[in-house]
Assembly symmetry: C2
Homo-oligomer: 313 residues x 2
DNA sequence: TAAAACATGACAAGTAATGGCATGATTAAA
DNA sequence: TTTAATCATGCCATTACTTGTCATGTTTTA
């Protein structure tokens, strides 16, 4: 086996093991101790952060986390990674912030100037408009890791009614419109609620959870309708256009030959309050046929506005 | 110089040059032709897609695009790349689709099983809620590349009033809420308009543009207010909460000691129609003090809704 | 038909890697 | 205090690999 290959094997081995003696490597790879010492010198020259402790019970220790074997990327592939990073640029808080910076740095520095220009242009010509948030979510990474590791959390949370302590079982985190959300099972209220990660004031304590629980993907899938109710809407041509631009409705809209359309589907009653605000906007382009509750809600909201500004012209 | 180093130099050289003869390499690196042939065998073994044409005018040809020198990533860094890719998962159309797939594949295959589990978990525990679109934007990559390369476009576009031909100078593309937008200078209407990339039906022809034009970043920055108008709103405590959840208002809201707040800023008159729909939702939690136009708009919309459902209870 | 290219083999000369041994330094346990 | 385990380094003969030269083919095109 060539020296380069063997060096890489040892590099993988030691970054995984972290602490080892020369003798161990010699046994593992069937080479002499003298050669091991020489190899370790080579690895140091290659920049691996490694240090030796002298004496009995001594040995080598590697400081980096586990390394992947060297990967050859094409220029286009490198550019695509920068493209993906660009999509994260509009979040204030991110897990893996440090790693993303270091990957970007490693890649950029090994690009040739021509490709560097292309990457710079990506930053200038493409954007992902998640409005840049002033709201920080300092516990994002913690919360994500506790979700992954099946741990329960005691947190201080700033809710509508003030600061509260919560005992929750996190399901996962997701980003929507620049904010991070945490669906979690609330042990006190005995149901799944939605928390905003930026409103978590502190993590008080954590505990390993015994039982298996659903993850985010499963939750999205199982997110079934609890109080089914029929939503039936008639849309003008313009109403069809507008509805298709609303994520919630897109896919539900049925367009007819003359350009008008309708929505006829089953939704959960709990979603009504959210939907109400959408129909306020559509005005006469969307006529609600069902449910009654939605019409009542719309009228109430409209009356509230008229009352508020009745004495103004 | 060691063999490994020289092989890498040659690898870089040939992937950049694409077509070459053994003699050229021998001259470039001051080695014998015999050695060059041996080296090329080695590169083939390493998986470089290279083929030889026999005979006079023959030579070697490399099929890959330019390669970066090998890069060593830590496991955490690899995970961060998958995290970034996850954020792109909710877009139907993406430029660099193929490259992203191949990067993911290269990385995933060189991860150890422990790290593979971590990556799988990221897919299960984190999501970026850009609602998955049914709308495809087949010309996204084309449009992006023409923006970068300073080219004008003749396109067929599906606008409000039917199918139209447009002659435009693209500025860049950006994603918002799962859709791709293209701000561009319209040569016919002589101003910058916003197009939706999914509504581009075809690209008819392109032409190199002579003059320099702004890029997306510059456009965002220069996007100044054309018809300034004062927006002055008084908010209840609940109004403050709700406003902070709306990207547009976040950052403009001033919170007072008692929890209530206000917005007092200058906006463009053109933004009013968009803002109207927001205030319909807030109801009495947000009281508009200025401008009058906004109040009038609100009332009109509210009356329209009441009229529509007047005969229903 | 000759020239320019790849393909491959053999061999000697040169270069690099390896293992063994020796020596020394440092540290912890016996 | 001694001993064993560990890193650190130097020297040298041996082994393994790399290189250049020469030779011989093949394929293609001017």
């Amino acid at each position: 086996m060539s020296k380069a290959k063997r060096l890489l094997d040892i590099l993988m081995f030691v970054t995984a093991k972290k602490k080892f003696t020369a003798q161990e490597i010699a046994d593992e790879f069937h080479i002499s101790i003298r050669t091991v010492h020489r190899y370790i010198l080579d690895l140091c020259d290659m920049g691996l952060p490694i240090y030796a402790e002298q004496g009995r019970n001594g040995g080598y220790t590697v400081l980096t986390s586990r390394l992947l074997p060297p990967i050859l990327f094409t220029e286009e592939e490198a550019v695509s990674i920068f493209f993906a990073f660009q999509s994260l640029n509009y979040y204030r808080s991110l897990p893996f912030d440090a790693e993303i910076t270091s990957v970007a740095h490693k890649l950029y520095s090994s690009l040739q100037s021509e490709a560097k220009i292309k990457v710079d242009k990506i930053h200038s010509y493409i954007a992902f408009w998640n409005p840049k948030r002033t709201i920080d979510a300092p516990f994002l990474k913690d919360v994500l890791e506790h979700s992954i590791e099946n741990r329960n959390l005691h947190i201080q949370y700033e809710s509508k009614s003030g600061m509260r302590k919560k005992h929750i079982r996190p399901i996962g985190v997701y980003a929507h419109d620049g904010l991070w959300y945490l669906p979690a099972y609330d042990y006190h209220k005995k149901k799944i609620l939605m928390y905003r990660v930026d409103r978590i004031l502190s993590i008080l304590s954590t505990e390993k959870s015994e039982d298996e629980f659903m993850n985010l993907k499963e939750w999205f899938n199982s997110h079934e309708v609890k109080n089914p109710i029929r939503l039936h809407i008639r849309l003008t041509t313009e109403g069809v256009r507008q509805c298709k631009s609303v994520p919630y409705f897109d896919g539900l809209v049925v367009t007819q030959e003359d350009g008008t359309g309708y929505i006829d589907t089953i939704i959960d009653k709990g979603e009504l309050s959210f939907i109400t605000s959408l129909f306020l906007r559509f005005g006469s382009h969307a006529r609600i046929l069902e449910p009654k509750e939605l019409i009542v809600g719309l009228r109430k909201q409209a009356e509230e506005i008229l009352t508020m500004y009745q004495d103004e012209n």
